[in-house]
């Protein structure tokens, strides 16, 4: 999602009709965007990621105009032949693609330059993935001697005056000291060569996708003729970006001229506004939407969404629409044009049998038993700290780690529940005792045999904490639970540094280890600043569920 600001006067001019604020809001929202506000002459709209063509004032106004049946159908762009040429020589392998255009006659005032810069930035941030997929550059045509060359150079050899600088700087200086350079330096961090545009006089025009030259690439209010280039990793993507920028300049009064791109013996011309053809099946669309439209109705809907109609089962997709990948997208646009609010809801008579997950039922039953024993349920995060899980517990438990933790407090997935319970006790010393708690939660262990390399278990943790609490109190909980499940269990002496020696046991049932029970060691209590005894039980519910 990207938020753009649009000049209302200009917008209405492009829509081609004076419509009220309410009508603007309804149309923008019906198209699936979010109109945030209209204040004075400024309209603020949140544009969804699938519609970069609406990031421009002209794109949004065009869509609204068509949607309201004012200027509907496929928009045509005339591309005039020209002799402008760009030689692609030795393009850098990581940034190989180029598309260019020339636009003459666009009236660029201060407002419009701002609008073009906003479009360039928003396209860069969203559709071009923070310029990782592509970059856009605009230049006053008069500065450039053709043919232009797109090539790459070792960074040491690149030196020019970037936008906003008073003196020339080397490529590395730009990446280190220029605000735009610093922002996007990561993209080029592993590149051995940097792409550059040079004109026929061997002047550096820009270093895509970072920055233009101040001398060659600053568009001013008196600029009437513009050279536009887009470069990047995917030809289709940068062509869309070029078309979106060019179409916006056309709405500012510009005429489009093609640019020849010469690469070895191959020559292509851009921009290409020829619509793509897409076949559709009216039955597919009717079935998916639950409608029964005839061809005429559907054709009207397509025109409303800016499509051209080639024949009864083929539409012409506008060259700015990046998001039409399958006829399901045509169906969606037909639904948008039809109006979601006009779709009458219908519950089909489909017979299915509900089923609750068996382990979830078991967990609920265990919780019920715990509540019956007077225990209060708590609910902790699965993300916790290694310090909490291991160090404060005086044990060397291995936890599943995050590669990109935000901080030390939440850097691992928990391997057991008891530390979470002690943490809660530690944070509730001001509250009334006894504090008898239980938690049913997930724990995580590395296990190479799993698809993700991690195995998950559901565990029950119980703690009792008050003056005078003893091992008996927690063993009663275990007894009561096992009795309720009609299971016999065995208890064996165990060794565990978190517990008082001689007051800790390992529990097994039907030959499977299922639980630890014991009294927490004073050294662990002191780590959690606890001044009352604590007895605990941790039981593997995944295993218990299996054997019960």
């Amino acid at each position: 999602m990207a938020v753009i600001n649009v000049n209302k006067e200009e917008f209405l001019h492009l829509v081609g009709k004076k419509i009220s604020n309410k009508e603007i809001e309804d149309a923008v929202n019906a198209l699936g965007m979010d109109l945030e506000k209209i204040e004075g002459n400024e309209i603020t709209v949140d544009i969804t990621a699938n519609r970069p063509d609406l990031l421009s004032q002209s794109g949004l106004a065009g869509a609204v105009s068509s949607f309201l049946d004012i200027k509907k159908g496929l928009r045509k762009y005339e591309v005039r032949k020209s002799k402008y040429a760009v030689n692609i020589e030795n393009a850098f392998g990581r940034w190989p693609y180029v598309a260019c255009a020339v636009v003459k006659g666009a009236i660029l005032d201060d407002e419009r330059i701002k609008e073009i810069i906003q479009l360039q930035e928003k396209l860069g941030a969203t559709f071009l993935r923070n310029r990782k997929k592509g970059g856009i550059g605009l230049y006053p045509l008069k500065n450039i001697k053709f043919p232009v060359r797109y090539t790459c150079e070792t960074p040491e050899k690149i030196k020019f005056r970037p936008l906003g600088f008073s003196k020339p700087a080397t490529a590395f200086e730009i990446l280190e000291t220029h605000s735009t350079g610093r922002e996007y330096a990561d993209i080029m961090s592993s590149w051995e060569k940097f792409p550059v545009f040079l004109d026929a006089a061997e002047k550096i025009m820009s270093m895509p996708p970072i920055i233009n030259s101040e001398d060659m690439g600053r568009v001013m209010e008196d600029t009437r003729e513009v050279f536009i280039e887009t470069t990047g990793t995917d030809f289709r993507t940068i062509n869309y970006a070029l078309n979106i920028v060019v179409s916006s300049l056309v709405d500012m009064g510009g005429k489009v001229y093609s640019v020849k791109l010469l690469k070895g013996k191959k020559t292509i011309e851009t921009p290409d506004f020829n619509p793509e053809e897409m076949k559709f099946d009216i039955n597919y669309i009717n079935r998916l939407l639950g409608l029964n439209m005839n061809e005429a109705v559907l054709r009207k809907l397509f025109l409303r969404m800016g499509y051209g109609i080639k024949n009864k089962n083929t539409v012409l997709v506008p060259a700015l629409r990046t998001d039409i990948m399958h006829q399901t997208d045509l169906a969606e646009d037909a639904a948008v044009a039809y109006g979601y609010e006009n779709l009458k809801e219908e519950i089909p008579e489909v017979f299915t049998i509900a089923e609750e997950n068996k382990l979830e039922i078991f967990k609920k039953k265990i919780a019920e038993i715990m509540c019956g024993l007077g225990l209060l349920e708590v609910h902790s995060y699965n993300l916790t700290s290694r310090i909490n899980q291991a160090e404060k517990m005086h044990t060397a438990v291995k936890c599943v780690e995050l590669a990109n933790a935000i901080n030390e407090e939440y850097n691992v997935l928990r391997a057991w529940v008891i530390p979470s319970l002690l943490n809660i006790l530690s944070g509730n010393k001001h509250n009334e005792y006894p504090q008898n708690l239980f938690e049913i939660g997930d724990v995580f262990k590395y296990n190479d045999s799993r698809e993700s390399g991690v195995e998950e278990f559901v565990r029950l943790g119980v703690c009792k904490c008050h003056n005078g609490v003893s091992f008996t109190d927690i063993k009663q909980v275990l007894d009561s639970l096992m009795h309720a499940l009609d299971l016999n269990y065995e208890i064996k002496d165990a060794e565990h540094n978190s517990f008082i020696p001689g007051r800790v046991g390992r529990i097994s049932a039907r030959g499977t280890d299922i639980a630890y029970i014991g009294e927490i060691h004073p050294q662990v209590l002191s780590e959690f600043n606890l001044e009352l005894p604590v007895v605990v039980l941790e039981l593997n519910l995944s295993e218990l569920f299996r054997i019960v």
Binding site: A30, E332, K344, E345, A354, S380, A403, V454
Partner: protein, 510 residues
């Protein structure tokens, strides 16, 4: 009259005993002395009576003078009695008097000031009585008089005269006497109390039923006293479920009522299932480190294992799309798909369910309620770990109007009569929509979740055939904060035991 009877009925045996004495007496001492009750019993009875508005109690704090220790005589008198006209050393005196050094020094200083003794500092300190001492021996000082009086018992401060007060001050400085504060309770009958006096109040009533009373039928012809049922009682701590889990149970019931099968699965997943299988492009921002938690060590991301044929079918879809459609273009990397992460949505469970579903089991409906993760710093409106609720309907005949039908029914059961849908965008659905519900109390539309029909690029590789799959979902905390009026999301998982004990049940939604 009825009221009076009800009051009498509810009187505790102790109250019944006290009431008659209140006609003449008001202080606790007087009442206990005359009734033979213990002080404590009288105080408790009076407090209960006050709660019932039968008496009004006045509490006064009275200061008393009393002795600190249990000495029989003042130390200076003891010293005087052990001296005579011959010099005695300090050691001798200490042995004879049994006084501490400090007390002894204080006494010598005092006697010297009164000019009753003579001190010789020749070699060692020695003391003898002088000629003034005879007169003093017979006469008692004000301090001594007070001391003797206090030996008989404490005296209210207000009853001391000026000389005694001065003497008290002197002795107080020496730690011989002390100031004691005692609360005096006195009670006066209220209008109701006065009316009660005229009534017959039985004193032989049954308070608690005991096995003996029941066995021997002692209750026959006896009064069982009534209770003050309006009195507040101490709180009890009960075992109970966490309010988040209560909410989950509530929502789960709705899905089950609608005939859905519950899905459950792992939190740790590969990008393959969480992203790629859902046609989320590999350069999507949700796949970046600042949006999603990945597992691994020191920046090195853990990679899982995905069967080669699965990788291949998803690669094709991402690169080239389905049928005559197109894909995202570029090169799809299986290494990126193998990255292990904490699931960012429960939609991953829906994808896994589709991959296991067979054609003969259609139509099928599934739902899941599970924890999901986003790489966000914790603040009042962001959680990094929270619950998502979602469902899918896999039905060859399903359509967009059905989806709106299901949504309407689902949210009606959640307590919202009106819903509104508008177009939206998700990489894995087309058409896509955003759902808002009408909040009848707040009188406004609230956005609650998203919905759509899974794209063929999602369903075809997973199912093996094309079939519409309706899907919708939302965050659980959204519902919860509205019900519990929670402003700061962090409170939900703060585990404040007072809050957990006192918060209301998720009993009736809207």
């Amino acid at each position: 009259m009825e009221d009076l009877k009800r009051i009498i009925d509810s009187l505790h045996p102790l109250e019944r005993k006290v009431i008659p004495f209140l006609e003449k007496y008001s202080t606790t001492e007087e009442i206990s002395k005359n009734s033979g009750m213990l002080d404590l019993e009288v105080i408790r009875a009076l407090q209960w009576l006050q709660n019932k508005n039968i008496v009004s109690i006045e509490t006064k704090e009275i200061k008393f003078a009393s002795l600190t220790g249990k000495a029989e005589r003042l130390p200076e008198r003891i010293v005087m009695q052990n001296l005579d006209k011959n010099y005695k050393t300090l050691d001798e005196l200490r042995k004879k008097t049994n006084l501490t050094n400090q007390e002894l020094n204080a006494c010598i200083g005092l006697l010297k000031k009164e000019n009753l003794i003579e001190i010789s500092r020749d070699k060692t300190l020695r003391i003898k009585l002088n000629k003034n001492s005879d007169k003093w021996s017979a006469e008692k000082t004000p301090e001594e008089k007070l001391f003797e009086n206090l030996k008989k018992g404490k005296i209210a401060f207000e009853k001391l005269n000026a000389e005694e007060k001065n003497a008290f001050g002197n002795l107080h400085r020496r730690g011989i006497v002390t100031e004691e504060k005692i609360k005096k309770i006195s009670a006066k009958l209220t209008e109701i109390g006065k009316r009660l006096l005229k009534e017959k109040i039985e004193t032989d009533v049954i308070d608690h039923l005991t096995p003996e009373i029941l066995r021997e039928k002692l209750w026959i012809n006896k009064k069982i006293r009534g209770y003050d049922i309006k009195a507040s009682v101490p709180k009890i701590q009960r075992g109970r479920r966490h309010f988040v889990d209560q909410t989950i149970e509530y929502v789960k019931k709705i899905w089950l009522d609608l005939g859905f099968i519950e899905l459950q699965g792992n939190i740790v997943q590969t990008s393959f299932w969480n992203m790629d299988a859902l046609f989320i492009p590999q350069d999507h921002s949700a796949r970046e480190m600042q949006d999603t938690f990945f597992l691994g060590n020191k920046g090195e991301i853990l990679r899982g294992k995905i069967p080669a044929d699965m990788l291949e079918s998803i690669r094709k879809v991402h690169e080239n799309g389905i049928g005559s459609g197109r894909g995202w273009g570029g090169r799809w990397k299986s290494e990126t798909a193998k990255e292990v992460l904490l699931r960012t949505h429960t939609t991953v469970l829906s994808a896994l369910a589709l991959s296991k579903l067979k054609k003969e089991n259609l139509p099928a409906k599934f739902f899941s309620i599970g924890k999901v993760y986003r790489n966000e710093a914790l603040d009042w409106k962001h959680l990094f770990e929270f619950y998502q609720v979602e469902g899918i309907v896999v039905d060859p005949k399903a359509n967009l109007r059905n989806l709106i039908g299901y949504l309407k029914e689902f949210y009606r059961k959640m307590g919202f009569e009106k819903i509104r849908v508008k177009p939206s965008f998700f990489p894995y659905t087309s058409p896509s929509m955003e759902i808002a519900v009408w909040h009848s109390k707040k009188k406004e539309w609230i956005e609650v979740g998203g919905a759509g029909i899974f794209r063929p690029e999602v369903t075809k590789p997973l199912l093996g055939f094309e079939c519409p799959v309706l899907a919708w979902g939302q965050g659980l905390e959204r519902i919860l904060v509205d019900y519990y009026k929670i402003k700061d999301l962090r409170e939900i998982y703060s585990n404040d035991l007072k809050m957990l004990r006192e918060i209301k049940e998720f009993a009736k939604w809207q």
